[in-house]
Symmetry: none
Subunit: 214 residues, 2 copies
């Protein structure tokens, strides 16, 4: 089970924590405002009131044991930066931080956040896409069966062309794209050779994808 | 071409407008702050400085001709509500409004917004999903190009097998699934015949999908 910490219970932090709980993760929430922590006391989360810029408060809340910590503080840029630096020092494996703007995001990345979220900008981009093309999630939700996954290349198809790999005929999955050296080849040609370090982005029924991953 | 209006050039509004321009829409941006409008004067957008709570300003900006208007004002809740009401009166076919919180969202929906966006909450939910599962959207975001769409069957391929339709070779799109009589056939066989009333769920680059839809 994933052990997650969420620091800051604004709209973003609250949504992260609530969704993580719904998805079965173990969650610690930490906020300096007592009422915000109190809102989580009826949930399975461990809810602590405390100032996360204080290393002792982080330790007492159990944050050092987390696999992932989300720093969900936007307005107090200084606090978000200090907290991120403390988490980096603690060796948290995955630090996700919400940024107020591009500059804030660059600073957070420099001092150790592994992943930066820009909620307003990213939802703006997605909103525009959904107005122009129908949103993938809507379409995929029509078919609860359908799943997309990124997998390492199975040993038995390394070096084969896509055609010869028989991903479609034998494994019943559709190869959407190949990720190679950080670039994505969308709808690759049947003659394309699958290389050892490629990762494959495939679509199919949940069961078929899981079978390949074994 | 889609005619869009974006009112309010905060982080969300700016991202919506910029992305819509990149996707080929005609965009009008309206903001009461001159510098914000000025930022868009080097783009193909029509950029107007003006107060959107003033119906005359909306008309002079060309807003009544828009298919879709996005109200991207968060902090000034009263302004966002008044503007939404004006747009409703103008008969704008699709009004998308950003809400500051659930109550604000309910009011916007009541007075005429067709779609409400909660950027912080929605990105919080998505962030949580991406931490737990290899989320489709992460995968798709790796390829900003990649888009999925549900389209009516183009006339020239009705009655053909998928193989003969050449969707992949000629149109560069990948047929993920066929929707027929409300059921979804995932990864259909190459010999499957495409029927007149089928809708096709296709994946490809945004530009290739748009070309097919013409
Ligand atoms: N040093 C701190 N330690 C712990 N919690 C803090 C600290 N500083 C701020 N917070 C908490 O973080 C939460 C979110 O902060 P803030 O409102 O600044 O972020 P926001 O980015 O506006 O939130 P939203 O996600 O709603 O956009 C608040 O509940 C606040 O109490
Ligand atoms: N009545 C109005 N008419 C036109 N523009 C307006 C009006 N009121 C506010 N704006 C503009 O809307 C923009 C965004 O407003 P605001 O900062 O309140 O939203 P926000 O929700 O904080 O933005 P973000 O998308 O960054 O979260 C500002 O640039 C502001 O000038």
């Amino acid at each position: 089970r994933l052990q997650c910490g969420v620091i800051g219970l604004g709209r973003f932090g609250t949504a992260v924590a609530t969704t993580l709980l719904n998805l079965g993760a173990d969650v610690i929430v930490l906020d300096k405002t007592e009422e915000k922590a109190e809102n989580f006391r009826t949930t399975p989360a461990i809810a602590i009131a405390g100032d996360a810029t204080n290393e002792l408060a982080l330790r007492e809340a159990g944050i050092p044991n987390c696999d992932t910590v989300i720093v969900a503080i936007g307005k107090d840029i200084e606090a978000s930066i200090l907290i991120t630096a403390l988490l980096k020092e603690m060796g948290i494996p995955l630090i996700v931080a919400k940024a107020n703007d591009e500059l804030h995001g660059r600073v957070l990345a420099k001092i150790g956040a592994h992943k930066i979220i820009f909620p307003e900008r990213d939802m703006g981009i997605r909103t525009a896409y959904s107005l122009i093309t129908s949103n993938i999630l809507d379409v995929l939700e029509l078919s609860k069966d359908l799943s997309i996954s990124e997998i390492k290349t199975p040993i038995n198809i390394k070096g084969k062309t896509i055609k010869d790999s028989k991903l479609r005929e034998r494994d019943k999955v559709n190869l959407l794209a190949i990720k190679r050296n950080g670039k994505i080849i969308v709808n690759p040609e049947p003659e394309e050779t699958i290389q050892t370090d490629d990762t494959l982005i495939i679509v199919g029924k949940v069961g078929d994808i899981q079978r390949i991953q074994k």
